[in-house]
């Protein structure tokens, strides 16, 4: 139960402002999820330079054996970037709790008030071309950094969820039987693992999310992002709110309009609410 925001910047002139815009969006959904907040930023070269890969870790041990690494500490999260392929970097940090990996995305999680966390993550100064954030009101699990969204379980992929799945335990069992490993008891992670498995099998976001609608029961508004996509979908009853706005310069979605209110050009944006079980995907 929570607040979701996501922003994809089409206009490179806006890339330096990503953090500022995302922070204002996060503020707009802070009350929906006062317990904790997670953020994903795509293309933040301060923390993951060109040609590097980055892993985002929770409670990282103090001396990770990664030579030449660029290390950023942000509260519970540590981002380690190095000029290595993603797999090698992941191998180098075995034992640490990985919450995200890729060549574009850096992920921050922590417990506490969303706007305090934004400061901890130094979100306002982040640059990049895409970002999303999630504020959480934990329903059936404890408030921990692990429980924060986004769930990022495939390279440069992120999923944030508002709602609650009704048959996630069964899907989890199926995925486990198929060899998928889980990090948490969270129902949203099941959605993320399901989508990741589909993407790994070569499907695009649209197809993967349509499969998710077929298979998952319960309530969800989902925002799913990847290195080349941004997608939104809601369940058949569409209880949980969502607003999408689009201009030639950006695409954005949020749980509530007030999170979009500060975006440049919002007055001329096309604004609409996603229809039930319809996948809205932007791919490039």
């Amino acid at each position: 139960m929570c607040g979701i925001v996501g922003l994809h910047l089409r206009d490179p002139e806006l890339h330096p402002c990503l953090g500022r815009l995302l922070t204002s969006m996060l503020a707009g959904v802070a009350e929906r999820g006062p317990d904790s907040a997670g953020v994903a930023v795509y293309g933040d070269r301060r923390r993951c330079p060109e040609g590097y890969a980055a892993v985002s870790l929770l409670d990282a041990p103090p001396d990770l054996p990664v030579p030449g690494a660029l290390v950023t500490e942000a509260g519970d999260t540590t981002v380690v970037a190095a000029p290595l392929p993603v797999e090698e970097l992941l191998a180098a940090v075995t034992g640490a709790r990985v919450v995200g990996a890729g060549t574009e995305v850096t992920i921050y999680k922590g417990t506490g008030r969303p706007l305090d966390l934004a400061r901890t993550y130094d979100l306002a100064d982040a640059r990049g071309w895409q970002g999303l954030a999630h504020t959480r009101m934990a329903t059936e699990s404890q408030v921990t950094a692990e429980g924060c969204h986004p769930f990022s379980v495939g390279p440069d992929q992120c999923l944030v969820h508002n709602g609650s799945f009704a048959n996630h335990a069964s899907i989890r069992r199926e995925l486990v039987a198929a060899g998928v490993a889980f990090d948490s008891e969270n129902d949203s992670e099941v959605g993320a693992r399901f989508v990741a498995a589909r993407l790994a099998a070569g499907e695009d976001l649209d197809k993967a999310l349509r499969a998710l609608c077929e298979r998952f029961d319960g309530f969800y508004t989902l925002l799913v992002t990847s290195a080349d996509g941004f997608a939104v979908v809601r369940d058949a009853i569409a209880c949980k709110p969502a607003v999408i706005a689009e201009t030639p310069r950006w695409v954005a979605m949020a749980s509530e309009f007030r999170a979009l209110a500060e975006l440049p050009g919002i007055d001329d944006a096309r604004i609409w609410e996603p229809e039930p079980e319809r996948v809205y995907a932007w791919q490039w």
């Binding site: 707009g28 009853i237 569409a238 709110p241 607003v243 509530e256 309009f257 007030r258 999170a259 979009l260 209110a261 604004i271 609409w272 609410e273 229809e275 039930p276």
Partner: protein, 219 residues
């Protein structure tokens, strides 16, 4: 004139509940919730910008205009008065409203007029899925299209749609449009300020097959 960038919501609503004036302008709502909720005097309130959930909730007598989009549940449980949204309305617009008129000049999203109990809702554009769900009384006029499951489990409310209806919900059927219905639509369009030909509207309502609980009931 009340600027929500400077005045807390609570102060705004308190003023509107015991109004010193009879016309107000509200600036910078920026998606705030419960703006002008629970009014009970015949004041005019012009809100300049987009509002969040439950704007003009339970409205009684007041005339509230939103110069922007409205969030979830605009004019929910309205008793009387007039609420006008110049832009689009989010889900559950006019939910359970008992009286008064809600006008949405743009489109209304899902569950428009859900459990409507006597108010009138006139929408310039489309209405979303599951609109008029369990609507008990009152009238809903959509000048555009209606999405899936229109009027599911509807009771005695009447729904008029000018465009296409994607599908009807359980127990909702198309009904004959007689002169009295065309007159009703004409009056509602006039009250809302839309210029359409009332003859272009089709009427939907309850088949009344779910009114009694029997083994034939399937949902």
């Amino acid at each position: 004139m009340i600027d929500l960038a400077r005045t807390p919501l609570r102060a705004l609503n308190r003023e509107l509940h015991a109004p010193a004036g009879d016309a107000y302008e509200v600036l910078n709502p920026r998606g705030a919730h419960a703006v002008a909720a629970g009014l009970c005097h015949a004041v005019a309130v012009e809100i300049r910008g987009h509002v969040g959930y439950y704007c003009a909730g339970m409205n009684q007598l007041a005339r509230v205009t939103v110069h922007g989009n409205a969030g979830v549940g605009v004019a929910e449980n309205m008793m009387s008065g007039l609420v006008r949204v110049r832009g689009d309305a989010s889900q559950s617009a006019g939910a359970t409203a008992h009286g008064g008129l809600l006008v949405v000049e743009g489109s209304a999203s899902m569950r428009c007029g859900t459990s409507l109990k006597g108010a009138d809702v006139v929408v310039g554009g489309d209405i979303g899925a599951m609109s008029a769900f369990m609507a008990q009384a009152g009238r809903i006029v959509a000048c555009g299209d209606a999405a899936e499951a229109l009027g599911d489990s509807i009771y005695e409310a009447r729904v008029y749609v000018r465009g296409k209806v994607a599908s009807l919900g359980a127990d909702c059927v198309e009904k004959e449009v007689r002169d009295e219905h065309r007159a009703e639509v004409a009056a509602l369009l006039a009250a809302a300020g839309f210029e359409h030909d009332p003859r272009d509207f089709r009427r939907y309502g309850s088949a009344r097959r779910l009114y009694h609980f029997t083994r034939g009931n399937t949902y």
